[in-house]
Symmetry: C2
Subunit: 412 residues, 2 copies
C-alpha cells in the first residue's frame, strides 16, 4: 500500500459495510421533521404515551439513593433485578421456567440482532426472513454477510408451504420472524400457524428468532403464544421497552438458553462492555412502581383509537382497488395497490401535497422488491392529522390509480 496519500478513503472500507442497505427511512424522517408534512412514515411511538411522571420518579430514586454504583462500570449481562423482572414476566405470562441467567440486556432489540450476527453467522450462512421484513434486521444481519432467503406472508402469518419448501432445500443457520403485528405489514400469526411452525422447526438445527417489539400493543385482549411455546430447539426471543416505555433509553433484551447467553455475553462485552446502567435502573424502578402496569392500557387505547380512525378514513377515501388488512395491534397499516402502481412515484406526489408514508419496497431485499405497497404508521399522529392526511392520500390515490391504469392499458 505504498501509494500516496488518499483523498478519498473508499478503498479502505470493508465489503460488509458496502453491502448494508441504506435506510430510506432516515432520509424521509429528515425531510419531514420540522416541516408541515403530515407524516405516516415514521415508526415512532407517540410521545404522549411516554410515562414521563413515573419515569421521573424512577430517575429521582437513582439520583437520591444510588449514584456511585450507577456511575461505575458494571457487568456485561445487565442489571440483575431487571433481568429477574423480565424472567418473571415470562414465567407469569406463559408458565415457563425462565431464569434471569437466560436474559441478556441489550441496547434496544436492534443490538440483539447485531449480537446474534456475531455469535451465529459465518459468511454465506443462510438466514431466513419474512418477505417483507424489518429493515433494521436486514441491516444488522447484512453486516455478517449471510445469504438471505425469504418466505412470503399471508394474512395469518408466513406461507407454510413456501417455508416447508425452503427448509427442504436450505440449511438455515437462523430464521428471523416477527409473529406479532409485524413490521411493516401489521400481520399477526394465527395460533395454528405458530404451532405448525414450532413443530416444523423441531426437525432443524438452526436458531429460531422471534422479535416482538409490538406484542404488548394488542387491541384484542387475547394473549399471543410465542412460537417458542411449541418449539424445543434453539429458540431465541428478542424484547424491548422501546414501544411500551420509551425508545430513547435504548433498553431491550435477549431471552435464550444459558449456553447461548454465555456466547452472547462475550459478544456484548466486545461490542460495548455493558448497557448504560442509569437507563437500566430507571426502567427497573419504573416497572416496580405500583401503577406502572396501568400505563400499557393507555398506550393500547391511544393506538387502537388511531388505528380505528385511520382504517375508517381509509375506507371512506381510498379507491376500492386498494387492499388493506385491519391490524389487531402494533403501529402499522399495510396497503397494497394494483400491481401496475409504483408507490415511489406516488410518494413524490404526496410529499408535494403534504403527506408522507414509506413505500413498501423499502422492506424487501434487493431484487425481491414489490413496488405497489406502502406502510402507514398511525401511532404518532393526531386525529386531525389522520383525517386530513388520509383524505389527501385518498384523493391523490384516485388520480394516481386512474392515470396509472390508463398508462398500463395503453402500453399493453
Amino acid at each position: 500500500m505504498k501509494t500516496k496519500k488518499l483523498k478519498d478513503y473508499s478503498e479502505l472500507y470493508s465489503e460488509k459495510i458496502e453491502r448494508i442497505p441504506k435506510s430510506f427511512l432516515r432520509e424521509i424522517l429528515k425531510l419531514t421533521s420540522g416541516s408541515d408534512i403530515i407524516s405516516f412514515a415514521g415508526g415512532l411511538p407517540n410521545p404522549e404515551c411516554f410515562p414521563i411522571k413515573n419515569l421521573r420518579k424512577a430517575a429521582e430514586k437513582i439520583l437520591e439513593e444510588d449514584m456511585a454504583n450507577t456511575l461505575q462500570y458494571s457487568v456485561s449481562e445487565g442489571f440483575l433485578p431487571l433481568r429477574n423482572w423480565i424472567a418473571e414476566n415470562y414465567r407469569k405470562k406463559y408458565g415457563w421456567d425462565t431464569l434471569p441467567e437466560e436474559i441478556l440486556i441489550t441496547n434496544g432489540s436492534q443490538q440483539g440482532l447485531d449480537l446474534l450476527g456475531k455469535v451465529f453467522i459465518n459468511r454465506s450462512d443462510t438466514i431466513l426472513l419474512e418477505r417483507p421484513s424489518y429493515l433494521g434486521a436486514i441491516q444488522a444481519l447484512s453486516m455478517y454477510q449471510p445469504n438471505f432467503i425469504t418466505c412470503g406472508l399471508e394474512e395469518d402469518g408466513i406461507n407454510i408451504s413456501e417455508l416447508q419448501e425452503n427448509l427442504k432445500y436450505h440449511t438455515n443457520k437462523l430464521t428471523y420472524l416477527i409473529p406479532d403485528f409485524q413490521n411493516p405489514t401489521g400481520i399477526c400469526y394465527s395460533l395454528e400457524k405458530r404451532e405448525r411452525i414450532g413443530k416444523l422447526f423441531e426437525d432443524y438445527n438452526g436458531v429460531l428468532v422471534e422479535d416482538n417489539p409490538y406484542g404488548e400493543i394488542n387491541f384484542t385482549g387475547k394473549t399471543q403464544l410465542p412460537i417458542k411455546y411449541f418449539h424445543n430447539g434453539a429458540s431465541i426471543l428478542l424484547g424491548t421497552f422501546s414501544k411500551v416505555i420509551a425508545p430513547g433509553l435504548r433498553i431491550g433484551w435477549i431471552y435464550a438458553n444459558q449456553k447461548i447467553i454465555n456466547q452472547l455475553v462475550i459478544a456484548k462485552q466486545a461490542s460495548d462492555l455493558h448497557s448504560n446502567t442509569f437507563a437500566q435502573k430507571m426502567i427497573y424502578n419504573y416497572l416496580i412502581q405500583e401503577d406502572s402496569s396501568e400505563h400499557i392500557y393507555q398506550i393500547i387505547e391511544t393506538y387502537k383509537w388511531n388505528c380505528d380512525l385511520m382504517y375508517e378514513e381509509i375506507e371512506k377515501h381510498f379507491p376500492s382497488e386498494i387492499k388493506i388488512i385491519k391490524p389487531e395491534g402494533g403501529m402499522f397499516i399495510w396497503a397494497q395497490l394494483p400491481s401496475y402502481c409504483n408507490t415511489w412515484n406516488l410518494l413524490s406526489i404526496c410529499m408535494e401535497r403534504g403527506v408522507a408514508f414509506v413505500p413498501g419496497a423499502t422492506f424487501y431485499l434487493k431484487g425481491e422488491e414489490i413496488h405497489n405497497s406502502m406502510r402507514l404508521s398511525y401511532s404518532g399522529s393526531s386525529t386531525e392529522e389522520i383525517k386530513k392526511g388520509i383524505q389527501i392520500l385518498g384523493n391523490t390515490l384516485h388520480e394516481f390509480l386512474q392515470k396509472n391504469k390508463k398508462d398500463y392499458y395503453e402500453k399493453a
Copy 2:
C-alpha cells in the same frame, strides 16, 4: 441439517465468536468483588472521583425540562450539542478545525472499536497493535477476523525500527495505538516518537487509530499532542467520558474525517440505532456547568497521590530485580519480573494472601505472551490498601523470586 434436536448448540456458533480471547479480568473481578482481597487488578475509576453532585444537577435539568424529547428515538450520529462540545474542545486544545459532523457518539470507546471493525476490516486484513495492548481492543477487533501483527513498546513509545520493518512487509488496514499512558504499561509516547510515527504513516494508506481514555489524567501538566497532529492521512481518534466523568453512562466518541463518519454512522445504526439520549444529555448538561472543568484537577490529584504512594511503597518493598517505569499519568503501573518468573503462579499465591493484580500475559496475543510481567492499578485503592497490599506483594515477591531463581539455576 435434518438431524435431531441439539442438546448443545456449539456447532451453531460462528468462527469469530470462538476466536474471541476470553477476559481473565472479568473472572478476577468476580473473585475479588465483595471479598476482603485488596485488588490492584481492576481498571476501574475511583468512585470517589465521580462528580455526583453535578451529574445529579445535570440529570435534574432533563427531568424538569426535556423529558419527551429525551425519551423519543433520536439520530444515530448522537446529540448535536454534545458533538459540538467535543469538536470545540479539539479546536481549543490543538488549534484544529474540527467540526461536529466529524464526531460520532458511541457507547464508550469500546463501541468505537466495534464500529471501526465493521467499517474497515475484511477477514484476514492486517491490524497492527502495540505489544502488549488493551485486551478490549483485541476482543472487539478479533470479531472481524483480522491478522494481527504487533510492535514492542519502549519507555518512550512504540519501537520505531520494529514499526518500520513491519510497515515494509505488511499492508496494514488499521493501526491501533494508545499513545497516552497506555493500558496496560502506563507508557506515554515522547513528542519525538509521535512526530516520527505521524510522518512514517504519511506514506501508507491504512487507518491510524489513536485511543485516548487516559490522556486527561496527566500528572505533568504538559499537553500531549496526538500523532494526528503530525499526520494528514486517515487518522481517527477515539475518546471517552468514562475516566473523567463516569463509565456507567457508557458515552464515548469517534473523531474522523466526515466521509469516514458517514460509514461509521451506517454501522452505528445497524448496531443499536443510537446511544442512550438521557446519558448524552446528562453529560452535556454536566460539561456546560460553570464548575465542571475543576473536577478533572481533583481526579488528577487523587490519582497522582495514589500513584506516588504506590511507587514509593514499591521502591520500599519490592526486590530490586523488578523493573518499574514510573507513570506520568493514567491508572496503571507495569512491573517486569526476571524472565524466569511466571506471574500466573505469583497471582495464585498472592490471592491466598489477599492481594490481586493482572498477570501481564493477559494483554498479549495468543502465542506472543510474556509471562513475567504484571499490571497494578492504583486508581481505585485507598492509602491503607496501597500500603498493605504492596507490602504483602513485596514480601511474596522476595520469596517467589528466590524460589524461582533457585529452581531456574538448578534446572540449568
